[in-house]
């Protein structure tokens, strides 16, 4: 199989909350990777591009977790709901921004993204509170080599071949939301961090040391 080509972007933000589901009605943890589903929605909203295949990985040591507490408003009843503590990512001490690498699978539709000037996009939750405003800067085109190792992000199982994954050796499953219309969607089975795959080295954290 021919190695896939990706467009490499750098993403910078002051606060990012890509949330898990709320636990116990009061606590919402956040994840430390940027799944394909989150980027797909963002690229559709900002660039009007459908079916963009992109995945993101936060740069270690550029971020730390913190808690933001707020009482959501029930517009129907006109009352405040129970306060929720939300985890979010903020720049680590000594750094100015949370940084991430975004890789977009190259095709005709996404070529227009490859421009030098940085663009602003929004990602994740709490956008109305100012979270998730990100600066996206194009770095260049890459054609990574194949490698066997542990997946470091989250992507739908259906998207594996499009990302150039040639073999899923041991899956580590979870579910990602997949919209089917403006107001509805389903949860599709996805490969999560720790899955053992053979694919582009940009998707891999740590080589698989065992026999495949």
């Amino acid at each position: 199989m021919k190695n896939k080509t990706f467009l490499h972007f750098e993403l910078k933000t002051r606060a990012l909350a890509i949330g898990e589901r709320i636990k116990g009605g009061t606590f919402r943890p956040c994840i430390e990777t940027i799944p394909t589903s989150t980027l797909k929605g963002s690229f559709r909203d900002h660039f009007g591009l459908e079916d963009v295949l992109a995945i993101g990985f936060l740069r270690e040591s550029t971020y730390q977790k913190d808690i933001f507490t707020y009482a959501p408003f029930d517009a129907f009843l006109g009352t405040a709901k129970l306060p929720i503590s939300l985890e979010y990512l903020k720049p680590a001490n000594g750094t100015k921004a949370v940084e991430a690498d975004i890789y977009v699978v190259k095709n005709e539709a996404v070529k227009l993204l490859a421009k030098d000037a940085p663009t602003e996009i929004s990602l994740g939750a709490l956008k109305s509170k100012g979270f998730g405003r990100c600066e996206l800067r194009y770095i260049g085109e890459i054609k990574p080599n194949l490698k066997v190792g542990y997946l470091k992000g989250r992507l739908l199982e259906d998207e594996c071949s499009a990302f150039g994954i040639i073999k899923v050796i041991k899956p580590c499953y979870g579910y990602l939301f997949y919209p089917t219309s403006e107001v509805s969607g389903v949860y599709k089975r996805a490969l999560f961090e720790g899955s053992i795959i053979e694919g582009p080295e940009i998707l891999i954290k740590g080589e698989y040391k065992y026999d495949s």
Binding site: E20, R21, I22, K23, G24, G25, T26, F27, K65, I67, L82, S85, E157, K170, P171, C172, Y173, G174, Y175, Y178, S184, G185, V186, Y187, K188, R189, I196, Y208, K209, Y210, D211, S212
Partner: protein
């Protein structure tokens, strides 16, 4: 996740065994219609309402939720101003593998029994090493260490020969699970007692793991009402062998050798040293500079040679101060 040897029956005939990772097949469906379980996020969630809180949990997660509240006794700790330490001991499997490989390579390279082995054969030995059996033995010894800690924690006595901890003041909230405990902290001595016991047991059970160990102890000390998520966040990411935090006061990560050194040199009862360390802490707060603190230590090197010695052995001023802050509290009840 399970690791297993393929063709286990061939163990005696070949040392070139194959090792692979095996994972349980949970038979997860390719898609789930909303709502997804809030907890495991892997099954269909059903609506559950308790105390006006609406949640969507699958049957499995709900059954776990119904198993009881393991922290019932802890919830009853209501003494005014009481502090509690949350203790978590963890075995980092990834680091364990690296440690085992490292120790095995050292054994092959330096052990007298390997003197007559050629370098080619040494290379073959290293490449064909499969750590599973050693890993299993290590985990067995780790469990023994946890048991020993549990057994001995109630035997620690204070100056009046009275036990420092009882089953009411040192809780293991989850039955038969000894990696996690919570204890009342009345003074720095309580913390030091736990750390002393842990470091002595680590030395006894894993003498090769005092500077770089896959076994890590974390203590998070705060008032009993402090949010558990905050404790858990610290406990779930141990960076060194001994990790202690008291939120907004100090945070420390050291290995066992450094701990023993600090324990030996920093005497809490030494009033002059205590005053000097307090002064250093104040200087540090006011100037926000390690350099100023370091200069002060150098100026007072004759009075307090221990501090200079500690810095010369690789401990930072920050670590010394944090150690002092975390263990200086006096018994007040």
């Amino acid at each position: 996740m399970e690791r297993a040897y393929e063709k286990f029956h061939s163990l005696s005939s070949s040392r070139y065994l194959k090792l692979y990772e095996k994972r349980a097949d949970l038979g997860l469906p390719s898609q789930i219609s909303p709502l997804l379980c809030d907890s495991c996020q892997m099954r269909l969630g059903k609506e559950r309402i308790k105390d006006q809180i609406r949640e969507y949990l699958c049957d499995t997660c709900y059954d776990i939720r119904q198993m009881g509240e393991p922290a019932r006794e802890y919830a009853g700790w209501e003494e005014k101003g009481l502090k509690a330490a949350w203790m978590k001991i963890a075995l980092d499997q990834e680091q364990l593998l690296k440690t085992i490989y490292g120790l095995y390579e050292e054994y092959v390279d330096t052990h007298p029994a390997m003197q007559n082995v050629s370098s080619d054969d040494k290379m073959v030995l290293k490449e064909s090493f499969r750590p599973l059996a050693v890993q299993i033995d290590f985990v067995k010894d780790y469990k023994l260490l946890l048991m020993a800690l549990k057994k001995n924690i109630y035997k620690i006595k204070d100056d009046k020969e009275k036990p420092i901890f009882t089953e009411e003041t040192f809780l293991y909230p989850i039955e038969n699970y000894y990696e996690f405990g919570i204890f009342k902290v009345y003074s720095g001595k309580d913390i030091l007692s736990v750390l002393d016991l842990f470091s002595n047991l680590l030395e006894e059970y894993f003498p090769q793991c005092l500077e770089d160990s896959p076994i890590k102890l974390s203590l998070s000390i705060a008032h009993v009402k402090y949010p558990y998520q905050e404790h858990w966040r610290f406990l779930s990411k141990p960076e060194n062998i001994i990790n202690i935090q008291s939120p907004r006061i100090a945070k420390l990560g050291i290995n066992v050798v450094q701990y023993k050194l600090l324990r030996e040199k920093i005497r809490r009862e030494d009033r002059k040293l205590s005053h000097f360390l307090h002064r250093l802490a104040d200087i540090e707060v006011e100037t926000k500079s390690n350099m100023t603190v370091m200069l002060e230590i150098l100026n007072n090197r004759k009075k307090f040679p221990a501090l200079l010695e500690l810095t010369q052995k690789g401990l930072s001023v920050r670590q010394i101060l944090d150690f002092y802050k975390l263990t200086r509290e006096e018994r007040d009840s």
